[in-house]
Symmetry: C2
Subunit: 292 residues, 2 copies
């Protein structure tokens, strides 16, 4: 890839991220809608300078499946709202009890615990509202996008992964538990983002399967590189119990090799798609090489 192409891709990713921000700003109830504190809390949670990785994957998958990226914007917003609610609830005192996220007080610190709980609950409802608003080409079942999101979000998806993660905090455990947690806590929402984008483009079964392979591998790689970054950060003065993570199960070199293997498999899955895959390649590169 030439440096011009790389530059263009970075610009396109930044543009998509901005488009997602603009669309979120436009669709969320204004901060002064009654109850004002709830709508302020929702906007505070949504606009924290996140990279918008999941919605970008949704839009990029729509393009790779032969559509225009912005065709999948409602689905992309749905995924980001769902992701945001999980972060708000994860930060609560009864969960990870985090007081800072991206350098700002977490929602429950800024707005109180009850309002944070309820802001998360409302964000999940808003996510499903957006999923229902996604226009779908004929041939795609009308409930397909909502079902993708519901399955990813539910008790055998993200929430299931979260419960198992909490149950194993502080205890190094077996590889099958690692895989269960990674698959559900992280990969399931990557998978839904990408499949929802593909469905918005009217993807056939073969295209959907290829993009699912990309998604699942990308999700695993993301969680592994997350754990590698955590391990790098916490060398030294970390006083908490050791977090259960991929590095503790496979070691740093083992974890790095697994991440590389997943990215290779993700890129192989992109080989026969009807639309451009440059954005999906760029995201895969970013995940393997990210430093934060």
């Amino acid at each position: 890839m030439t440096s011009t192409a790389t530059f263009d891709l970075a610009t396109r990713l930044a543009d998509l991220s901005r488009q997602v921000d603009d669309a979120l700003r436009h669709m969320l109830p204004p901060g002064n809608t009654r109850p004002a504190i709830l709508h302020e809390a929702i906007r505070y949670a949504v606009f924290t300078g996140g990279k918008r990785l999941r919605p970008i994957l949704c839009l990029a998958a729509c393009e790779a499946a032969g559509g225009q990226p912005d065709q999948a914007m409602p689905a992309a917003l749905a995924v980001e709202l769902l992701h945001t609610y999980t972060l708000v609830h994860d930060d609560l005192p009864c969960m990870d009890n985090d007081v800072i996220r991206r350098g700002k007080p977490t929602v429950h610190v800024a707005f109180g615990e009850a309002n944070a709980l309820l802001a998360g609950d409302a964000l999940q409802a808003l996510a499903f509202r957006q999923a229902a608003l996604q226009p779908l080409p004929s041939g795609i079942p009308p409930d397909a996008v909502v079902l993708e999101l519901a399955d990813a979000a539910g008790s055998t998806g993200v929430i299931g992964g979260q419960v198992e993660d909490l149950a194993h905090t502080g205890a190094i455990t077996d590889a099958s538990t690692t895989e269960f947690i990674h698959r559900h806590k992280t990969a399931d929402l990557f998978r839904a983002a990408i499949r929802m984008g593909a469905l918005a483009a009217g993807a056939n079964h073969t295209v959907l399967e290829s993009l699912t392979q990309y998604a699942v591998n990308l999700g695993f790689a993301f969680q592994i590189t997350d754990d590698l970054l955590d391990a790098a950060e916490t060398t030294g003065d970390k006083t908490d119990q050791p977090e259960f993570n991929c590095v503790s199960v496979y070691g740093r070199d083992g974890a790095r090799q697994r991440a590389e293997k997943h990215i290779t498999q993700a890129l192989q899955a992109l080989e026969k798609l009807p639309g451009p895959t440059a954005l999906l390649h760029a995201v895969a590169d970013y995940i393997l090489t990210r430093t934060h």
Copy 2:
């Protein structure tokens, strides 16, 4: 109404409640699905001997709109799952901090606070899954049922009412705040239940509007009789702060009169519907005369 008709209606309501229970039992992931504690917590929350009022309203509205009641079962389950999740979250320590519901320890007492939070979150996702699975006759937009649920569940619906209710706990306030809280905390989900049932039957605009009038009035009456029952129960040794409620704003007689007025308006709205309205009449009678 003859006593035979009353008996038949009571039997039909009990039958519908049992059908809802059976359908819930069938659709929820088995208690041993990984993570088992989460699926046990979900079943514990769903099977607490509730009256299944909201799903019955959904099925009854489907009948009143000219359909068969069980045509609306996915929508009915969606409403009950959504209602259940709001109860689980309302009971949490950062909200009402209730330790007993229907004579049993609340979900967070039985399963821990994090698992209760996550069980509630998963129940909301399951609710939207069921809403998406509701078959709809041609002429009804395919996203109509999910949108009804999302609007009722969101920041300008149930959650909005909950936030305002928490903000006013312990402070008697003005009638417009009372109305805001009742409309959103309670009436919005009654309204969604009934409209979702009507949509499942393929209701036209006029039918949908009549049932909406029934629903809104029923929801108000329900909240008022709830407050009257609370006031009757708490005479005497209640040591908490006085709860903000309808009785404190309108007085007992005033509240009772408002409940009766809403039920009269609800029954008037049933006059020109294409299907049988006996079940909807029975629910209205029940709400006005209930003793618990």
